[in-house]
Subunit: 385 residues, 2 copies
């Protein structure tokens, strides 16, 4: 599983002492080749962390030999010193691995606005390199957790098992779209060039990670990388490969929502009969970000009026008196007004499906979010203190 499911990759996860609690906090993923093709998408937040600024430059070369990831500190809003620290991290990895720093991506996650303890991080990179293993994917996935309660991995294989796509993800809060919304490393042993990787990755993230909106808060550190080793010797057709990448991204995105901070409900928002896909996404996002609705779902209250009030704030094509809304299959709102009896809605299960019918076309989109709970408030009012 994870980033070592595909051939041609080693990984490690260790406790370097970055986190105060002594837990695993440093991961290393290495592409042993023969190919080093890679693609990446990054946060669209204009305030970007130092490792994002660094890795964006690395990815322009289309090749990555190693990725260093740390939890316990985002290295965001840390000024020139923060960027120097990221650079030093890449140099350290390059030195112990015998590669070029220009092919080492770096990703960090944790509190914004504090410098990383480089006296612990740099020796940690060397220690992680010493533990690299073809079975290290699980430990790497564990080492990138912050408030995640579980580590997240996924895998898909091509026709006949000729090639594999695997991956790991972290993310539980500050989770909202903007190209990508978390740290994710995907690996494949398929032989795919950097341009094709880039297209497959953007196609996949647009429909998966970009449609996860846990709390409307876009991170400064979002990074999704896709590394290809070519070690299987197989060159897949684009459609098969893109579908495998999309599948792994979708699986990981679903796991992120399932582990969102404080959540007790996973909410699947299906917007149907929209004039355009963009309209469907805009409406889905607006519903996903409505705090009042998220509280209502937490209380197992099928409060469809809050769905309509959220739709009404968008610019999507619709007529208010043609809107229909179902919650868990019960059409509680028809033609913009009272529909079936709301008491018929069964909301006992964790997954809740809200269907918003815009009656304006034939396009659709799914956006995932979660409920808003007292636990979310508690967790995030005490995070940095």
């Amino acid at each position: 599983m994870s980033v070592t499911a595909a051939k041609g990759f080693t990984a490690a996860g260790i406790a370097a002492g970055i986190k105060a609690n002594g837990g695993p906090d440093l991961a290393l993923v290495v592409n042993t080749g023969p190919s080093r093709a890679a693609a990446g998408v990054f946060t669209s937040n204009r305030v970007k962390a130092a490792p994002v600024l660094w890795s964006e430059q690395v990815l322009k070369g289309g090749a990555v030999t190693a990725v260093v990831l740390n939890s316990g500190g985002a290295n965001a809003c840390t000024g020139p010193r923060g960027f120097q620290d990221t650079h030093a991290t890449a140099e350290q990895a390059a030195e112990v691995l015998g590669h070029h720093a220009g092919e080492v991506a770096v990703a960090s996650t944790g509190l914004i606005g504090t410098l990383l303890p480089m006296d612990k991080l740099l020796p940690g990179v060397a220690a992680a390199a010493a533990e690299l293993s073809e079975h290290g994917g699980e430990k790497a996935a564990i080492a990138i957790k912050t408030t995640d309660t579980v580590h997240k991995t996924a895998v898909a294989t091509g026709p006949g098992g000729a090639w594999t796509v695997g991956g790991m993800a972290k993310g539980a809060g500050m989770l909202a779209p903007g190209l990508a919304t978390m740290l994710v490393v995907l690996t494949t042993d398929a032989d795919v060039d950097a341009g094709t990787l880039d297209k497959a990755l953007r196609d996949a993230t647009r429909q998966t990670f970009d449609r996860v909106d846990s709390d409307g808060c876009m991170s400064t550190n979002d990074t999704v990388l896709l590394l290809a080793s070519g070690a299987s010797g197989a060159t897949p057709g684009y459609a098969d490969f893109a579908e495998a990448v999309r599948h792994v991204c979708d699986d990981l995105a679903r796991q992120l929502i399932g582990d969102a901070e404080g959540a007790s409900k996973d909410i699947r928002i299906e917007v149907v009969n929209a004039a355009t896909e963009e309209d469907a996404v805009e409406v889905g996002r607006s519903i996903a970000r409505n705090n009042l609705l998220k509280c209502a779902i937490h209380g197992e209250d099928p409060n469809w009026g809050r769905v309509l009030s959220a739709i009404g704030t968008t610019g999507a094509a619709f007529e208010p008196d043609a809107l229909n809304v179902a919650i868990n299959g019960v059409w509680v709102c028809r033609n913009g007004s009272v529909g079936e009896d709301r008491d018929l809605v069964d909301m006992r299960f964790r997954e809740v499906v809200i269907t918003a019918d815009l009656a304006a076309g034939a396009q659709s989109a799914v956006v995932w979010t979660n409920d808003l709970t007292a636990d979310y408030v508690h967790e995030n009012s005490a995070y940095s203190s």
Copy 2:
């Protein structure tokens, strides 16, 4: 105080039986003239409640003789029947008062998606008319409360006490800008024509109610009305009058934030040195809507990284490494990086001031919000059940 502070107005507030708990739920405000000039601003939510659709038409005539307001039900998303109910309410008021229904505005607040109990509301209008009094402003303000814990009134007088502007407001949740964000009735005994009232009201709401963003959720029922009786016989200069209206709106807006659902902190967001006022408002709004920051403030945690991540999602003019942020006067972020010691920030008091310096110009704006608390979650997960 309230809507009867100005001469030429009577008001009443009664319990008509609309609310299940038997509390006051129906208010009536009557302009006894001699002038009936009026202006109104309404929610920009495209899903508009029946009373909003009705009152928008009434206000096009520039004259209002009476306003019927009810709590206990929003009459939103109620279809043709809901609109008929609003119409019948206006007709009832017109009949008992001896006026035209076309000059009766209606405003409703409460749960979306349920029809009003007209068998209680219509007799209630007659009962309220029988209680109309020049001292009824307080009772009217009490009757429009929903989750408000206190009623809100404000007053301002012109030079030498020649004329008065008074008002009442309700609003505690689903409180975010969109021209107006709550039910507000302002009255004045100044002799001002409808066009001037409209300009003064729009100028005022743009800088006051429009810059209150409690929970990012825009209502379907927002209504702000300004009624002039001319009973003082005084015709104020525009600047004096506009300032009085702005003062009353600002006072009421501040009271709304102070009573926001579940809030324990009132947060004043000052965006300074912006390239344009629009930039300043966009940045202020983005900060105000950041759930993670709102949780942090609840925890008295000066987590400025969340301020920067919110600024980074906007299109405003700024350079990330030129941003400065102060919390309660301590510049915890300078030049996009770590500034003064965050432990210097004293957050024990209810009011918290966040200053965001965009270092991009000379414009500024203030946006108010409040913290996000477990009490907000609790109140809104149990509201309709």
